[in-house]
């Protein structure tokens, strides 16, 4: 099982993101403040695919649709890498609870 501390999750998440799109050529530094839409140029469907890729990576079902829906409801301008890390850490830490 992969470790679920914040640094490890951030590192795994960046690996997942860079393998998501074969035409992806973002070369800047990615920090917790980086936004996946405004900075990385994601389309909404890329975020959906990212959710699936995270689930595949950790072999766990995660409520990613609810995560994106709530971001949309609060009129978020973007979803940051830091928010994604928090989401993944929170849900991976909840043992035995399936969404």
């Amino acid at each position: 099982m992969l470790p679920i501390d914040r640094n490890s999750v951030r590192s795994e998440l960046l690996k997942v993101i860079t393998t998501l799109r074969d035409d992806w050529d973002y070369s800047g530094e990615i920090t917790e403040q980086t936004g996946i839409f405004q900075d990385l140029g994601f389309e909404s469907i890329d975020a959906v695919a990212l959710g699936s890729a995270i689930e595949d990576h950790y072999n766990r079902s995660l409520p990613f649709a609810e995560f994106l829906m709530k971001a949309n409801e609060r009129n978020a301008k973007d979803v940051t890498i830091g928010e994604l890390v928090t989401f993944v850490v929170d849900h991976l830490s909840r043992t035995g609870k399936k969404p």
Partner: protein, 292 residues
Amino acid sequence: MSKAIVNGVNVHYQTKGEGPDVILVHGLTASIAFWYITKVFPALTEQFRVTAYDLKGHGYSDSTPSGYTSADLAGDLVALMDTLGIERARIIGHSYGGSVTLHFALLYPERCDGIVLCDTGFAALRHLRNIDHWPGWEIWKKELPDLGITPEWFNRADQQGIDTILQKSTEIPVQFGLRRGGTRDTPRFRKLLEETTLSKDFRDPSGLSEERLADITPPCMAFYGEISPFKNVASHLSARMPHCIGQVVPSVGHFFLLHAPDVFIERVVPYLHDPAGYVRNAKENSAASMPT
């Protein structure tokens, strides 16, 4: 990421939840993401096994140069169901996804427990459209007069005119969702417009004529926004399709799912549990169906 080979094309899909099968069909230039941000996917997975997929040429599904009529895409849907082992389903379609859904109900009624249409205009019912309610007038109010585009022009628009509008639409920012304010001029959108027959195919009734509406037997719930250009389609369908009830959602337009998702979910869930029974009861008790 889950992909299925459908008529020789890789199709991206997601399935979650348990219960009767529900399939979600998005509209032109959208993707599975539409069902995420409108709440429909997460809300329905609490009670149903929900499958959402990217139409051919959209999202993470592969594209082909042609094959985008509602008949073609209904054929893709039945092939997807075959591949996934879904014998029968409730199917929900938004906008052009509703054309695919209704065409599916006409061609494959035995695979369909019931359908839900969300503000679908239909190529064969273009005469019912109220172009004054098209959101583009407000969005492009500065540009359209310079291009000589008026409601009268729009009603006469030929293929070249439609292509002009679609090209123009790449210049305006995304209006809603997590990318609002961002560009619509993405490689995916460009490819659809420039390398496929989509812009021609979506205007082709491809056999889904006004006359065939009476032949559609599966139960149908047809939702339309009160200020949508397609509002009049609701009463038209419910008068012609024997098992269709029309619903008008107050104070919202074509994208009512974004602005009033809770109204939709509250009304559609009881229908999805028993589409035939719900429509029968609504038809028997006119108070249960909302007149349009």
